[in-house]
Amino acid sequence: MIQWKRKDLLGLYDLSAEEIIFILDTAAEFKKVSERRVKKVPALRGMTVVNFFVEPSTRTRVSFELAEQRLSADIVNMQAQASSLLKGETLLDTVKNIEALQVDLVVMRHSAPGAQNFIADRLKCGVVNAGDGAHEHPTQALLDLFTIREKLGGFKGLNVSIIGDILHSRVARSNIWGLLKLGANVTVAGPSTLVPREFEELGVRVCHNLKDAVKDADVVNMLRIQHERQNSGFFPSIGEYSSWFGIKSATLQDMKPEALIMHPGPINRDVELAGEVADGENSVILEQVTNGLAVRMAVLFLVAGCRK
């Protein structure tokens, strides 16, 4: 029986399959807490968590904040716009100052890949990665894994297709590493500019045709297509992207009838995902949000629970 020994959660790349399953099992019990009338446990009572978002975020930050409240932690929110980073302070100085206030955990989002690894090595307090550049978004992947396991029972031999801007996606990378460790077959699909062949080196199938990507899939995870990419020459227009790689009602005809449709949000309705598909029977998008809270409670509990 394994036990949790890490003070930080930085990514899924470093975790073993057993550790991932351990987090999912822990999250299953925390999910029940949010279904009670008293939606709170005293686990992190007296501990302070700093949510340090150097890159803007709404839903991840809100999910973390609620998770922290339900664990009875005290919370401080810091945003880059209001921090001394703008006055020229280095990232390390900023977080060292935060740590000097005797905080127990730092939840951080940063645009630079590896920023969380850098500070985790230099801080005694725990660090949870809430997204670093195009590198990792471990809690998003964990909530995706939690949802898949809850709906389909496991991962061995499952076909999961991740579709969209794989190149710039930390959600895709964390999902790929987690899914492969757990024995799933992963396909990544999208235009070749956003889904380069190099991804095959990670052990996934690279595909540039939507129909081919979805036909055997048990799970289709649609990524948001960022409008700003349109001006960078990755694809000619949003409309053209949508017509080639967007999932519409008709696409469901080419898929397994029970396949799950997932999306990390926020959705661009009728761009990567037709509104009626996002709201349809195959969609588990809102359950992902519910599960995100449980997964973040579990992660915070585990990293806070280890003696530093």
Binding site: D25, V41, C306, R307
Partner: protein, 183 residues
């Protein structure tokens, strides 16, 4: 268990479980809403199951639940690692119910303190009592067992371990084991 002594053998342990069930049976009736047993993970759960079976055989079938207290511990962040969280299942409405918490050993009383907090987050029971197989007699908190089968007095560095099933390491029974705190 590298260094251990057997305090009670398998048969005496079974006898203790029957004794505990008899005590509970004398104090609680199944009239009205009846009563419920809630086992505390880990060993309180199989013990509560056995008590349920004994009580059912006498026509007094209680409701049964299982409780994990890890989220309510008072040593989170001070241990090298956290124990695994086990499943909490309370399949009945606890409001106004008579509930008996069940654990294998009453030692410091801290587990029971946590269990009271955990259970009352599910509602407002009418009454809570405590049944333990082994009472060590020197709790760190003002918590006492209402029903107990064995009283054992040992130095604090020793741990009392209850095993209901034999395995490759030792037979079933109640053991006195060398223990290092913060394990």
């Amino acid at each position: 268990m590298n260094s251990y002594a057997q305090l009670y053998d398998a048969e005496q342990t079974k006898q203790g479980v029957r004794l505990l069930a008899e005590q509970i049976g004398r104090h609680f009736s199944v009239s009205g809403n009846g009563f419920a047993l809630v086992g505390i993970h880990q060993m309180g759960v199989p013990l509560a199951q056995m008590l349920c079976e004994e009580l059912s055989a006498c026509g007094k079938t209680p409701d049964f639940g299982q409780l994990d207290i890890t989220m309510y511990r008072d040593d989170i962040g001070t241990r090298n690692m956290l124990p695994r969280i086990h499943e909490t299942i309370i399949p009945f409405d606890v409001n106004d119910r008579e509930i008996i918490l069940v654990d294998d050993v009453l030692s410091s009383g801290r587990t029971i303190r946590a269990a009271l907090d955990a259970l009352t987050d599910y509602g407002r029971p009418g009454l809570i009592r405590l049944a333990v197989l082994v009472d060590r007699g020197e709790p760190e908190f003002p918590i006492r067992a209402d029903f107990t089968a064995f009283k054992v007095s040992l130095p604090p560095e020793r741990k009392v371990v209850v095993k209901f099933e034999a395995d490759e390491i030792s037979p079933a029974g109640i053991f006195d084991v060398n223990w290092h705190k913060n394990n």
